[in-house]
Amino acid sequence: MSMFGRTPAASSGGVNHERIEMAINEIDMVSDVFNRIVASCHNKCISPRYAEGDLNKGESVCIDRCVAKFFEVNKKVGEKMQSAGANAQATGATSFGL
């Protein structure tokens, strides 16, 4: 919101712009991470021959483990950056298990 000035209508309507902006940042981040997992786990688990349209058993199990492992990596990296003090400003990123 800060990017576009505060409109009289909005501020008299009782909207806390800081809070809205943090929520939007959070949604953007979760959505960005989700899209990266979809792409990474597709590369890791799905054979590009496309002989059939269903996920086979091996692909399905691979996807489940892949998503779990991505979360693990995300957590390890988050801990590392926290200990490095690098994410002092990342306080808005509360939801993705960080």
Binding site: A23, F34, H42, C45, Y50, G53, D64, V67, S95
Partner: protein, 89 residues
């Protein structure tokens, strides 16, 4: 995410933001799917028409990609809920 502490005006605002974002995400998913399936399935440019083999590949690819995204979404929601839950004693 927890918007329960938001007032009515803020919740209405967030609903609009989320709807807009979902629309954009759907469009990006769609064009990303087209790009991925095109790149995997189409390698013959001696003709501009899709061969029946390419077409079958594209249909399977799209099918599989949607099922893949859906499954990732399920696991993602579960793990995200777990990560947000209060730590167990």
């Amino acid at each position: 995410m927890d918007f329960s502490q938001f007032n009515a005006a803020e919740q209405a605002h967030m609903t609009k933001v989320i709807e807009k974002k979902q629309m954009q995400d759907f469009m990006r998913l769609y064009s990303g799917l087209v790009e991925r399936c095109f790149n995997s399935c189409c390698n013959d440019f001696t003709s501009k028409a899709l061969s029946s083999k390419e077409e079958q590949c594209v249909l399977n690819c799209a099918d599989k990609f949607l099922k893949h995204s859906e499954r990732v979404g399920q696991r993602f929601a579960e793990l995200n809920a777990e990560a947000m839950a209060p730590p167990k004693p």
